[in-house]
Symmetry: C2
Subunit: 178 residues, 2 copies
Amino acid sequence: MKKTSLPLSQVYRLLEPGPVVLVTSARGGRANVMTMSWHMMVDFEPPIVACVISNRDYTFGIVRETKECAINIPTVELAKKVVGCGNTSGREVDKFKKFRLTPAPAARIGAPLISECYANLECKVMDASMAGKYNLFILEVVKAWIDRSKKHPRTIHHCGQGVFMVAGRIIKLPSRMK
Amino acid sequence: MKKTSLPLSQVYRLLEPGPVVLVTSARGGRANVMTMSWHMMVDFEPPIVACVISNRDYTFGIVRETKECAINIPTVELAKKVVGCGNTSGREVDKFKKFRLTPAPAARIGAPLISECYANLECKVMDASMAGKYNLFILEVVKAWIDRSKKHPRTIHHCGQGVFMVAGRIIKLPSRMK
């Protein structure tokens, strides 16, 4: 990967816009990829993220058990693979193989990262107490990677039923907001 | 408002893409507006939403006490007002007045809606048990309104420090994902 380390204080800037992400997890040498849009930042530093993983998803049990996963952020070039991962289950298929995604070793967790994604966030589950009631996990991002050659990553944002909004123009306004 | 009721089953399609929203709340006849980006869907129907409201924000106490708020979704035309609301506190200013936002009565809650926003979600707090530890509230959307004349609303998505991504082109891919 031609990626470099991203300071953890900057992680919120990647997730706050609300992109579709690919969650990778692994158990017993078997890795999986899940498409996810239900995530939000909870704190800046250390970066805390909340996400919802349905208990019907193969990933749910793996994340609850291994207490680890990675959040990989794709751009529009990967849209078809992203939908493919959303339409299949890791119970039946090896999604890395089926959708030709390249696993890359993580630094702090066992789950592989997706090389084709422009950013990768290595996460540890810090609180699964809401997983039973809401399928909600609280994650801490412990390591972040980014491809700095992507100046304006065209992330995709799911509007439901296979309709995606592609990240458009950037505007800057004088702001005191972090 | 020339808005019509939106079926609650469609609410996720508005929040899942991750737009910046304006949270309205009211207590003792005094209404406030807060800019928020940290939200996610938790369930489809009834639509359950999780959001993070800092305990330093004036809105935090109002929402915890009244157990109500509205999520108003602005488009790029309102970007300056959105940043203005994010840079000021309701403790000192009446943001409806200062930023010339028009309050509209809600159907199911006491907090006013923002007329200028293309969609408004009336919410009741269903779980504040994580407000102490994570500033996290679980909301149920009990009524939703939308301006159907806005075919492709240019929502704004915060990338941090006053940098916003404006909703770009729409792509559709054959998908079994809801």
